[in-house]
Symmetry: C2
DNA sequence: TAGATATTTAGATAAATATCTAATATAAGC
DNA sequence: GCTTATATTAGATATTTATCTAAATATCTA
């Protein structure tokens, strides 16, 4: 099954895209992330889990907090998919997906 | 509402991504597209409609056939979203979405 | 205009998704 | 060890989505 399916699915939700953009600025705890949304913590936790499964973010516990940060490697693969479609291409051919 | 939401949603489905990649190679009729999938024509028609609403494809009737082709302008905006996240950036800032 | 071909629209349904509340886990501090 | 703070897991529910069959629309041709 397509490697890129999970990241594409993960990025199809506006809340998750916003989380990505927040993490671009700085690493954040789950709680700090949740505070930025009009949504319960379990809901945000669910979104973070989907981002994590798609390998778009990494989590790391520090004491009571769990810090989330971006994992840009998968983004590169998604960008390559777009390059392939628009013919502008990255470094390597990518017939994936 | 985020301008990029529809294209992101549209691209979250593997069938639709495959259609995009087929259209990258050449313009195709709805029927020819449907033939490449193990799925009914109405289902493909539905997928084509979602791609059209997201402005990722354009359709044009020619006689009995309706030809679909890529509309790369919106792809560029999506790519810019990724550039913004990965800090590699396109030509303009894009705080959209 | 009747029949054939290409495609979409309508309506139904099963599966996936986003969200909530309540309960559980994990760590820190007294 | 108990209490508080942070975060996740479990379970329920409403909405969205992908898919199908059947019906409708549009175009061509004889």
């Amino acid at each position: 099954m397509p490697l890129l399916n999970m990241p594409f699915k993960a990025l199809s939700d506006p809340t998750r895209r916003k989380i990505i953009q927040m993490l671009k600025e700085k690493d954040m705890t789950a709680g700090d992330i949740a505070d930025q949304f009009d949504m319960t913590k379990p809901s945000i936790s669910h979104h973070l889990n989907i981002l994590k499964q798609a390998q778009l973010v990494i989590d790391q516990r520090k004491g009571q907090n769990i810090y989330y940060s971006l994992n840009t490697t998968v983004f590169q693969e998604v960008i390559n998919w777009f390059f392939n479609v628009t013919d502008r291409r990255g470094e390597f051919e990518n017939e994936e997906d």
